[in-house]
Symmetry: C2
Subunit: 409 residues, 2 copies
Amino acid sequence: MAVGPASFPAMPVIEGLRLGTAKAGIKTAERRDLVVFEVPEGATVAGSFTRNAFCAAPVTVAREHLAACTLHGEAPRYLVINTGNANAGTGDVGLRDARATCAELGRLAGVKSSCVLPFSTGVIGETLPMERLLGGLPEALRSLDEGPKGWAAAGEGILTTDTRPKGASVTIQLGDETVTLNGISKGSGMIKPNMATMLAFVATDAALAPALLEELLRETVERSFNCITVDGDTSTNDACMLIATGRGAAINDDHRLALFRDALQQLMIELAQAIVRDGEGATKFVSLQVDGAVSRQEALDVAFTVAHSPLVKTALAASDANWGRILAAVGRAPVVDFDVDRVVIDLGEVRLVEGGGRAAGYTEDAGSEVMAREEIPIRIDLGRGERSATVWTTDLTREYVAINADYRS
Amino acid sequence: MAVGPASFPAMPVIEGLRLGTAKAGIKTAERRDLVVFEVPEGATVAGSFTRNAFCAAPVTVAREHLAACTLHGEAPRYLVINTGNANAGTGDVGLRDARATCAELGRLAGVKSSCVLPFSTGVIGETLPMERLLGGLPEALRSLDEGPKGWAAAGEGILTTDTRPKGASVTIQLGDETVTLNGISKGSGMIKPNMATMLAFVATDAALAPALLEELLRETVERSFNCITVDGDTSTNDACMLIATGRGAAINDDHRLALFRDALQQLMIELAQAIVRDGEGATKFVSLQVDGAVSRQEALDVAFTVAHSPLVKTALAASDANWGRILAAVGRAPVVDFDVDRVVIDLGEVRLVEGGGRAAGYTEDAGSEVMAREEIPIRIDLGRGERSATVWTTDLTREYVAINADYRS
């Protein structure tokens, strides 16, 4: 199940950036489960990682290697991603395995081990099948491809319970130069990123200073991957990487920066929303906009309280305009001195709640008409300030339970 | 569905306290849906109410009337409870209806309107069918009964999606005096009390000063109803009332107070756990004990993070000892400077996690054996302090989704 049509664009070439995949048989045979990004020399790479205290071994090692590169004024040259096994909750063995993966890829490609960043996604708590994983690396390197085929294969190679690959591409014109931004993401359950969802990789040919790239990643992740939730569960393996090869246009003035930031934000939102649309068991894509808050954090708190309410989510699954459950969820959000009489709740173009209760002109028919849609916008105005936030989420269906009662994550 | 055997004791008489019920046809015909408690003169009553900002009209009125009684040195003489309609999100009409209910019962019984406290539970957002509700009051008064029949009928009369009535009784011996504590509760979904679950009514014949009764209620609710969760959704109508008729033994020294407090705590825990056991779609009763925290709040934060994790709850439903999901949930709890290597997680008598990963001696068979049980104890030691908390919860099943996609709460 998924909401809306699947789409994976034919990605334009980003010169020097190549993607390779292999079928290493990590969890199941005959599927792409190993992906390698080759990053050209002179690129800049920024990363954003899970805030789960039990972060997975590859997250620890990727952070270490990224810091080591920064210290030496270098950029990572390879990213290696496996699916089918998260290498999380695996203690010292997990760290050793993540390091051994980097060492072997470094040896094969002729770069230092610390220039390789590892990523894993899949089952938590089992050690990596190292022989099969390392055995797949030569195939992944042999298949390195700069074109859309490489991106398409990589988009598939990072999936777990996802029902479809997720990719997006944006180009912008800066004078007579075209800047390309390509990205892929994966994730379907255990989605309440406290940074970024499970995995996302974005690359551009633009040239940006490392500090600026970091700042742009932080900013755009905050308003994309950090604003989605499927089930409120933050993964141990979340990572979002942003690669700028630097071979294209330089982002060296405010006008270019504004254009680039907007394009990056748009791409990030598209990749983040794709994860929600493919949320486990999802039949609805819900946009929760909270306005009139005294701070963005307050708006986010209210939005996430509603987004995580099992009662709201099951009402959405049933296409039931059960505004009482939305109101009850808003009412238990952590808001100080909350005057509920000022709250207004709109479902699409239909006013549901005002003055502490059902809006005067509301009819069940009007509410049901909006709830029957696949894409449902809910707007909550707290009437107490000027700040806003938007969060995207799914409904909660029997299929979500079935998937997660049967799958080992 | 429910976990463990149903039981509703034959309640001993609490002299002067009478319970009446009626079939008022509030939502459906031919079921008890109206309950009246008659409290003898000279009693003391304490109340604890929902912290949901969108609290229901009866909660507002019950608070007002309780405060008015306290101001005048009186105690409430009647509690009136309807099921089938929560009178929540009903604005001014809801307040008027709650007040009219008190006025009519006051008129029939010959007491001031402010000596009547109203309670409602059921569908949110619809106005009360006042004619039928008021029409049922004489029948409820006619059936007032001091004995076990009155309690049994009341236990049924307050239910909504509950599959069975919930009652408990404790007696203690103070010298040659016997003190009785009886209680009933209701609730099954929208359960994450931030005070007390949907509704609970406890009565004793002991004599306690009003301030002491308040304090005991606050204390015991904190470690019973405030420690249960089914779905994390806090109701708009939660209330827990404690009535002390004062006709029995006086709680007038430390020894008696300690005995009484223990008995009250035991009763509250039993009533609270009964709600979890009857949680919507529940097939498991899970006890989550967190030790080694630096504060009780920290222990509660970790316990509730695990208790609300849909991935942990679906693994419980599947009897899958998926310790990786427990570990991931612990890891995203709001704990500052969390050293995950010190965390120990036990499933019953089986050690699951230590040193940041799977415990050395752990086997799937041992874990599966515990997970197959109906009652599952999980203990999480954070290894960073001396404080503890225990929270009780359920699994998340397809039936939970089915119930809540089909029922209008």
